[in-house]
């Protein structure tokens, strides 16, 4: 029946059309801008050039790129170090309570990003809650300047993306066959060795998925550096923002955006390979 064969296509068509028209085409358009020159009065002059990409590699901008990569990487590592024990503890909780714990771990992630960031301004500023608490406890020195520091930016990033990392790691932990760990224990490995040699390697795909997510969203972030860094810490996201909204150099902004997307795609591909590798290893182990 030809009707049944074409129906899935017809059903998918409106959604696909929307995504192509308003996501794929705009992304390609902005990418194409990266190959043109900036007009004298802003805007775009349609003369082909690779200058914008050369500028991305310019030491001034490369430094910002590397610096934000460093901040993003720190946030990623910290988030994984907190999320792993959390996900592990959830996976060890009674079966009935696991979905509830997981839901409440992820709930903040769906709520307003700005508000969650703002909460840290309230906590960290000089007249903020933490400084107040210290004073109540008898601290008499100068109030600590915790806001507008790199640590504040990292804290904000970790706080905002932690729920997703917990979710990603939990999903690999919960699929783990407990017999593998038992086998390792029966063969004489201690809990630490069992964790390092069995549990951890098998859950690396989840760690990688969560990590890539935090890294990509952190490096492209402009809200957290602007609010918690006080504009003193530029991330790639801030740079893109500036090119489009203040410097009015859209072609350069487009090149920066392209660099961001390429970084993301490379990391996602690496993650996919790591996942494939890990599942291949698992298969091999079972066959042996």
């Amino acid at each position: 029946m030809s009707f049944n064969a074409t129906r899935p296509t017809l059903l998918a068509a409106p959604g696909v059309a929307w995504l192509v028209a308003f996501m794929v085409v705009p992304c390609l358009l902005v990418l194409s801008y990266a190959f043109f020159q900036r007009g004298v009065w802003g805007g775009v002059e349609y003369t082909f050039t690779l200058e914008n990409f050369a500028r991305v590699a310019d030491p001034l901008y490369a430094k910002i790129f590397l610096n934000s990569a460093r901040i993003a990487l720190t946030a990623t590592v910290v988030a994984i170090l907190i999320a792993y024990p959390a996900a592990y503890a959830i996976s060890r909780a009674p079966r009935m309570s696991q979905p509830i714990l997981l839901f409440f771990a992820v709930l903040p992630f769906w709520s307003n990003y700005l508000i969650r960031t703002y909460a840290w301004i309230v906590l960290l500023n000089r007249e903020g809650l933490i400084n107040n608490l210290l004073r109540t406890l008898g601290y008499t020195g100068e109030p600590l300047s915790m806001l507008y520091t790199e640590s504040a930016v990292i804290t904000g990033l970790v706080y905002n993306y932690l729920p997703f990392v917990i979710l990603a790691i939990y999903s690999t932990l919960s699929r783990l066959n407990p017999e593998l760990m038992e086998a390792s224990r029966d063969l004489g490995a201690g809990p630490v060795r069992t964790f390092l040699r069995v549990t951890l390697p098998l859950t690396l795909p989840g760690v990688a998925a969560g990590g890539v997510f935090v890294f990509v969203l952190s490096i492209g972030n402009f809200v957290t550096p602007a609010l918690l860094g006080g504009g003193r810490f530029q991330m790639v996201g801030n740079l893109v923002y500036d090119q489009f909204l203040t410097a009015n150099d859209w072609p350069f902004g487009a090149a920066l955006g392209a660099a961001l997307i390429v970084t993301m795609i490379v990391l996602l591909l690496l993650q996919a390979r790591a996942t494939a590798h890990a599942s291949g290893e698992r298969k091999g182990e079972v066959e042996r």
Binding site: P8, V30, Y113, A119, I121, V216
Partner: protein, 263 residues
């Protein structure tokens, strides 16, 4: 008994610490919003005056109205398109990698990239930007999330009941409304609620596609401009309301989705 307890204890401690980290900052905000002085320095008594101040602020009311318009339109459009897309993708005979990537991309693409792409696109078309361009933009990621929620339900859907309905003489249309749709409804509503929350909370893309002028400012944009100038007690109250709305929508969404996990 004591061995079991001691093996559970570290896990409990981790959970308490992590949930404390996740929820304390939010709890502080909510508490502060009821503080009469509005300052974090001291508690000067319970008061709802900051909520009253919100209602008197016409900018905030305007922004709230705009947010509602955007979220409602974006939710309706994305729920229809996302559900149809999910049905299309799950009834295909062969999985298409291109289609999978297309439906997955809106969920992972950095929002700043999508935001500048849309700004470029709309201004290239010479479109006047406003609430309508925010709606168009929000539908992109909303529909991807609706699609993924509905697809998760469809994966457990027994298509033989569709065949049974057809064999018994029902038309394709009747079968859809009488068989498929009722089964899918909880997940469609769950997806719609998720889309609504995402749209209410979305800031970056709205910021880039709202165009110039105050007329199409949404709540997150209003909150951003308020908190850039520091802490004001009204923001605490506004934040509490916004988080309350999102949390409620998400709880309902989750509940609907769980109800049907075991049909």
């Amino acid at each position: 008994m004591s061995a079991a307890l001691s093996s559970k204890l570290p896990g409990r401690i981790v959970l308490v610490l992590v949930f404390g980290f996740l929820y304390l900052p939010i709890a502080v905000l909510v508490l502060l919003s009821f503080n009469d002085s509005g300052l974090p320095t001291s508690w000067s008594g319970f008061s709802t005056r900051w909520y009253g101040a919100l209602l008197a602020n016409t900018y905030i009311l305007r922004a709230a109205w705009n947010t509602l318009i955007v979220a409602v339109f974006a939710t309706v459009i994305s729920t229809v398109l996302g559900t149809l897309l999910a049905l299309g993708m799950e009834t295909r005979r062969r999985k298409s990698n291109g289609l999978e990537a297309l439906a997955f991309a809106p969920m992972v693409i950095p929002d700043i990239v999508l935001a500048v792409a849309l700004l470029t696109f709309f201004s290239r078309l010479g479109l006047t930007m406003g609430l309508h361009t925010i709606i168009i933009s929000h539908v992109i990621f909303d529909l991807a999330f609706v699609c993924s929620v509905v697809r998760a339900r469809l994966k457990h859907f027994d298509f033989s009941i569709v065949e049974a309905s057809r064999d018994l003489g029902a038309s394709g249309w009747t079968t859809f409304w009488r068989v498929t749709f009722p089964v899918l409804l909880p997940s469609i509503v769950a997806g719609a609620l998720l889309a609504f929350t995402l749209s209410v909370d979305e800031f970056i893309i709205a910021f880039f596609t709202a165009g110039a002028g105050r007329s199409s400012i949404t709540l997150p944009m209003q909150i951003y401009s308020m908190i850039r100038f520091g802490i004001t007690p009204e923001v605490n109250a506004l934040a509490t309301i916004v988080m309350g709305v999102s949390a409620t929508a998400l709880l309902i969404s989750q509940w609907l989705n769980r109800e049907r996990q075991v049909p």
